[in-house]
């Protein structure tokens, strides 16, 4: 009982990993910004009227507000969603965001995502939910003096830890689904995937006609990684080794398998696991305002308070 009491006190009075959460917030916004900007050359196909996918309009009421870009009128004006999104995420990368701006960012992202939902992949799904949870990553200081500050700390901590749980659920589901089929179990999944034009490269397609020991090994390592991640990620000493496997896994998906957006989103999501002290140093290096402060003759402000 005492433990629960202590935990609840901590939940509302101490900000969990404040530097990690602020660095992660910037990186996840940078990823969202970069991926949406990446598709600007084909914006008319992705969000506008030149789409090739068959788009239906299956939602009514408040749900319709999430899928406005599936309606011809809004598709003709997709810039209303695109540029505010780029502006808000760009500002968040620089460290300027609050609850309202992050909420608005998420609403815009949901619309941009559903506009092209048919060709979306798991990366976009997880970004959808990480941006939702990031709404609650308030900048607050420990030992709150008011109930509002205390509530903000609770929401921050829940938002941050649920982001970890979100990634864990993702891997657990992905891993357990693989047990329903046979290709992953027999070690053939990677071999088959790399034999499909769109998930491979010409030089790989040329020599790959028989499964090999290293492809089977990589297949089972990725299966083991996904199944064990939800448990092992909570053990600090194991975490760097576990995440290193994950980085290799997701960078391979990005550059070998060619699902670049999926790979990069998952790599970016790993920013939430950067230890607090390291995140503090990184934040210091990317904080452009530190160059301005000495010039203005003002004192550097320490901490993460608003």
């Amino acid at each position: 009982m005492q433990k629960i009491d202590r935990w609840l006190t901590q939940l509302q009075s101490e900000v969990a990993n404040p530097f990690s959460s602020q660095l992660y917030l910037r990186i996840i916004n940078l990823t969202a910004f970069a991926l949406i900007a990446w598709m600007i050359p084909i914006a008319n196909e992705v969000w506008g009227m030149d789409h090739f996918v068959i788009i239906d309009h299956g939602f009514t009421g408040y749900r319709r507000l999430a899928v406005l870009l599936r309606e011809p009128f809004f598709r003709e004006h997709y810039q209303w969603f695109l540029y505010p999104f780029l502006g808000l995420t760009g500002l968040a990368v620089l460290g300027f965001s609050n609850f309202i701006s992050r909420l608005f960012t998420w609403v815009l992202f949901v619309n941009l995502h559903w506009a092209d939902y048919e060709v979306s992949n798991g990366g976009w799904h997880v970004l959808h939910h990480l941006l939702l949870l990031s709404i609650f990553l308030f900048r607050v200081e420990d030992h709150p003096k008011t109930r509002v500050q205390s509530t903000k700390i609770v929401l921050h901590n829940l938002g941050f830890w649920f982001s970890w749980i979100q990634i864990s659920i993702l891997y657990l589901t992905a891993g357990s689904h693989k047990f329903l089929g046979s290709y992953w179990l027999y070690g053939d999944a990677l071999f088959v995937t790399l034999n499909i034009q769109e998930f491979s490269l010409p030089w790989i397609l040329e020599f790959l006609d028989t499964n090999t020991w290293y492809l089977r090994f990589a297949n089972w390592v990725s299966l083991f990684y996904q199944i064990s991640f939800p448990v092992l990620i909570w053990f600090r000493p194991i975490r760097p080794y576990l995440l290193s496997i994950g980085l290799v896994f997701h960078l391979s998906i990005a550059f070998l398998v060619g699902v670049i957006d999926f790979g990069l989103i998952l790599v970016a999501a790993y920013a939430m696991f950067i230890p607090n002290n390291r995140a503090k140093k990184l934040l210091y290096w990317i904080d452009f305002s530190r160059f301005l402060r000495p010039m203005a003759g003002t004192r550097s402000i320490k901490g993460t308070g608003d």
Partner: protein, 161 residues
């Protein structure tokens, strides 16, 4: 994992704001490919079969950061849509008739043709098909590929479709 009724009830509540398709994360490899191909007829006769997604795939092979892959994915989906239209109600009954050219899957094919070929003023008819590739691995770990095609009938080109 959830009972069916609970799954549908929760999905209805969650979609689209909080919807999460967890099966999208690295499922079984897609061992059946449905590739959209087409040909058109003008004064000089029928053209060769064109595989419109291929140039976009080549671009991404050259540069993994090329957004052409997203166009490619849309074009791949056109092939899937054609395949499933011909194998499910009501498309399976319609696609063999002249009304087939008004099916959404065929209309999206015409959009692709317009993008690839420009205005298409000289065209009088067209035909779409799905090239089907099936990949299987035997017990020795050797890959086999079988291919076939699903042909849609030749339709009259109507610019207003």
């Amino acid at each position: 994992m959830l009972p069916k009724s609970l799954f549908y009830a929760s999905s209805q509540f969650l979609a689209p704001w909080f919807y999460q398709n967890l099966t999208a994360f690295a499922p079984e490899p897609p061992f059946n490919r449905h590739v959209f191909v087409y040909r058109v007829k003008d004064k000089s006769g029928w053209s060769k079969w064109d595989y419109p997604a291929y140039p976009y795939l080549q671009k991404q092979w050259q540069n993994r950061f090329d957004p052409a892959i997203k166009t490619h994915d849309q074009l791949e989906l056109v092939g899937d849509n054609l395949y499933w239209t011909a194998h499910s109600y009501p498309g399976e009954k319609i696609y063999l008739t002249e009304k087939g050219r008004k099916l959404p899957a065929v209309v999206s094919c015409k959009k692709v043709m317009r993008k690839v070929q420009g205005q298409l003023l000289e065209i009088d008819s067209f035909q779409v098909a799905v090239y089907i590739e099936r990949l299987r691995v035997n017990e020795e770990g050797v890959l086999s590929r079988t291919d076939s095609a699903l042909f849609f009938p030749k339709y009259v080109w109507d610019a207003e479709d």
